[in-house]
Subunit: 191 residues, 2 copies
Amino acid sequence: MRVLGVDPGLTRCGVGVVEGVAGRPLTMRGVGVVRTPADAELGDRLVAIERGIEQWLDEHRPDCVAVERVFAQHNVRTVMGTAQASAVAMLCAARRGLPVALHTPSEVKAAVSGSGRADKAQVGAMVTRLLRLDAPPKPADAADALALAICHIWRAPAANRLQQAHAAATAARATPRVPRTAAVPVRKVPR
Amino acid sequence: MRVLGVDPGLTRCGVGVVEGVAGRPLTMRGVGVVRTPADAELGDRLVAIERGIEQWLDEHRPDCVAVERVFAQHNVRTVMGTAQASAVAMLCAARRGLPVALHTPSEVKAAVSGSGRADKAQVGAMVTRLLRLDAPPKPADAADALALAICHIWRAPAANRLQQAHAAATAARATPRVPRTAAVPVRKVPR
């Protein structure tokens, strides 16, 4: 499984590609940051993020995109920009029919370090070790994107079992109905 | 001037097109709602909103898109979805090189009703009167989108004068530098 992790942000959007399966050593396929100038118009910044994410999707052809789940509670000053950048990443993935997974920051920290309260340095150190890198990826947004991808690879088997159980339970009590996704066909290019 | 107003939302995204200039009677060119099913995946909902907004842009060819400015402070439960829907609307506009304007809910209410605290019924009644409609547009999101477009047409002359004054002041103190938008070229189609 190849996963593109996205740590969304308007100024710096971390991106990292990790390949592997749970229980075996993982491999980093790429890491970087999509940047947009703080003094540009918001709409133009979103266009620049879209272009950057599209390049990463074109180059690495991931099977899935994992995006950090944004909460309104904290970082009120920057949270709207983060939510908007995450929307662009999700849009780019869904437009190609790629599954989009959201993981919270504490899920990601817990997955790579064992603690949901790990700090940036700890996450960076574990990403370096787990991907057998020479040094922690810089900036922290890039390391966080890799941590997201690792988290997704490790959580995916459990998440799939949950989904299957939920689907089975839903099917068991189902009356005939329209499939859930029927109203939203996904096309690769929306025009 | 023809303006597409967008009242962003994941479940109901209000859209309305108004044509005219400040100081003269305005004309409604279209009004509606882009809906997405609440039980669809978030990425697929954003794709559906993108498709809907693109159809409105294709059909009405506005000169400008006015989007409600979203704040993190209130409606914490729905604010993230609103921010993400607004990102898609801004992205669609900026990708075509259309100017994007953001107006706060109280600016919109004050513009159409004289009070920044007007309720939905008051805004609906004023939109109906100002656009000489037979009845208030339903649902409220559609009326809000028209109010946004009206607000933008009425505020644009003042905003333009402010921008020109700002540009003149900046030019007066400028040392030679790269144009602000140089790092973010806008293309109509991002691929």
